[in-house]
């Protein structure tokens, strides 16, 4: 009874000391045998880890499908090992390329990196959404951009060099005299019926197109001086661009909003890179 009731401070101290020594021993072992941070096992989402860089299982699935045209479960162990070995080899070569400075020396690598970086910015911008209010505001501010392409049916004549009074010919056409009776010859550039404005501009040239665009159905222009002589056009039918309704323009509006965000993000990224960089420029190039 007396023995069981005794306190044993000595035993307590010994146990504490043993615990402390064990902890110190573990810490010392870990400290002096550490080989740098690395993953001791392969995470579930990875097929392999190469010098700390993961190779995703998802990519292995795609690689097997690309190589053999079958799913992962249908592939034999040898096929899976071959696909994975190819991917590991690629990763090793990439890492070696980075070590050797190909990122700075090889123009193709640099070009691919720039494209990748720009793509990353575009990816972030393309992941954004726009509310109905934002899209409506954009549409209202850029309504002209969402008009369809105008179209026209136009006839064009080039006047003979010895035409005399060109204005009289225009007046005769307005009076419904036939072009044949006036010995006019069509230029042949706009004989195909309806043309979009961009096509008419290409065919007529900017000066004559600008005049044609201003004409209403049936109107005849005054003589137009162009590089190769005098021209007259008659507008058969003119359909100016018609604004597309908001609902119909919705997909393009979202596209344009994202494009604007992408440009903004690119500019901000460039500003950030330049601001934080230490750039020294040679004296003669400043």
């Amino acid at each position: 009874m007396t023995d069981s009731g005794k306190t044993t401070p000595r035993r307590t101290l010994v146990l504490c000391a043993v615990g402390a020594l064990a902890g110190l021993a573990l810490a010392g072992y870990g400290l002096f045998t550490a080989q740098g941070t690395h993953t001791a096992h392969v995470p579930a989402e990875d097929a392999a880890v190469v010098n700390g860089v993961p190779i995703l299982r998802e990519d292995l699935v795609q690689q097997v499908t690309s190589l053999y045209g079958i799913s992962l479960s249908a592939a034999t162990p040898a096929q899976r090992r071959k696909a994975l070995a190819d991917m590991i080899h690629e990763e090793l070569v990439v890492q070696r390329g980075v070590e050797m400075g190909l990122v700075t020396d090889d123009t193709d690598v640099r070009s691919a990196l720039v494209t990748g970086m720009e793509g990353q910015i575009a990816q972030d911008a393309n992941a954004t959404a726009a509310s109905d209010a934002q899209m409506r505001a954009w549409y209202d501010a850029h309504r002209d951009a969402y008009a369809g392409e105008g179209s026209m049916v136009v006839r064009e004549w080039i006047l003979p060099r010895d035409v005399g009074d060109a204005s009289a010919i225009a007046a005769a056409l307005r009076a419904d005299r036939s072009p044949e009776s006036l010995h006019l010859q069509e230029n042949g550039r706009t004989n195909d019926g309806w043309e979009f404005y961009f096509a008419a501009r290409l065919h007529l040239g900017p000066r004559i197109f600008a005049v044609a665009r201003s004409l209403r159905d049936g109107q005849v222009s005054d003589p137009i001086a162009d590089g190769d002589g005098l021209h007259i056009v008659r507008m058969v039918a003119n359909r100016p661009p018609v604004p597309v309704a908001f609902e119909a323009a919705r997909p393009r509006i979202l596209e344009d909003i994202r494009e604007a965000r992408r440009r903004t993000a690119e500019a901000e990224n460039a500003g950030f890179l330049w601001r934080r960089a230490d750039i020294r420029i040679a004296g003669d190039l400043q």
């Binding site: 009874m1 007396t2 009731g5 579930a44 989402e45 995703l56 299982r57 998802e58 699935v61 795609q62 499908t65 799913s71 992962l72 479960s73 494209t115 990748g116 720009e118 793509g119 990353q120 910015i121 575009a122 990816q123 972030d124 911008a125 393309n126 992941a127 959404a129 369809g148 392409e149 179209s151 195909d192 019926g193 309806w194 043309e195 979009f196 961009f198 096509a199 290409l202 597309v244 609902e247 119909a248 919705r250 997909p251 393009r252 979202l254 596209e255 994202r258 992408r262």
Partner: protein, 272 residues
């Protein structure tokens, strides 16, 4: 003396009364911690099994499939439903394709393909995005940036529109439609992506034109606008935003839309 140190019987009874609630709390905490730890361990096992499995077959596993679809439903509601709809019905107004129904741009019968699309997107800017082809804008001076294609006149686009309507059984094969067929199969190059019979090409995301279902609508004006103005829809890339496990879960959930089962409204669920 030892008995004196322990205290009187009344004091010892008092200490026991104080200890009982504390012990009960300690035991309850231990049990709760144990349950939480077990749940975490169980989830981790399921997650690892899902990631290590074949995406084409694990959906059929009753335990893994249910686990993936449960998590995938919540992820779909948070990440995808705003565009693709609660039931995967898409949106013609926004040009977002339906995930249910007969028309798919790509071969979504493969879960791995769904996963890749979720991961890299479509025309998202990601270097591995699905972006092999766009719908050219035949009513512009330069219809297609990647290839020299001939612009089409308003009359030619009208003929093509008539032909596509006829393909879809929404119009007769008039002389205009026949001219459109000639352009479709020869001069305008439409067959190159959409196939000679308008059957589409899933490897490049060219939709079928000869059946039911459409992304933007199958009335005359919408088809005309698509041919004249072109189309190039975007699906964002979730690489870097969602973990590989989450991408697998979403893909397996979306595959149920494609398979036609479990297309229950997201909002009708008790809790995500």
């Amino acid at each position: 003396m030892a008995m004196a140190k322990l205290g009187s019987p009344e004091q010892r009874a008092g200490r026991r009364m104080t200890l009982r609630p504390a012990m009960a709390l300690l035991v309850a905490t231990g049990v709760l911690a144990g349950l939480v730890a077990w749940r975490e361990w169980h989830e981790a096992r399921l997650a690892a099994a899902l990631l290590r499995g074949d995406p084409e077959t694990e959906g059929r596993d009753p335990v893994l499939g249910a686990y993936a679809r449960r998590a995938g439903r919540a992820l779909y509601a948070a990440q995808c439903a705003a565009c693709h709809g609660d039931n995967g019905q898409g949106s013609r107004a926004a040009g977002v394709p339906a995930l249910i129904g007969p028309l798919h741009l790509y071969d979504l019968s493969q879960v791995a393909t769904i996963e890749q699309i979720a991961r890299f997107g479509i025309r998202s800017g990601n270097p591995r995005a699905f972006a092999l082809a766009d719908m050219p804008a035949y009513g512009t001076a330069r219809p297609y940036a990647r290839e020299a294609l001939p612009p089409q006149s308003p009359g030619q686009i009208e003929d093509l529109t008539r032909f596509v309507l006829a393909l879809r059984g929404r119009g007769p094969l008039t002389p205009a439609a026949r001219r459109g067929e000639a352009a479709f199969t020869v001069s305008a190059g439409c067959w190159d992506c959409h196939g000679h019979g308008g059957e589409g090409e899933p490897s490049i995301g060219a939709p079928a034109l000869n059946g039911r279902g459409s992304i933007y609508g199958d009335d005359h004006d919408t088809i005309y606008r698509s041919i004249a103005g072109g189309r190039a829809g975007v699906s964002p890339a979730f690489a870097g935003r969602l973990a590989p496990l989450q991408l697998r879960q979403i893909a397996l959930y979306v595959s149920t839309f494609i398979a036609g089962d479990s297309a229950r409204p997201v909002r009708a669920q008790g809790r995500p």
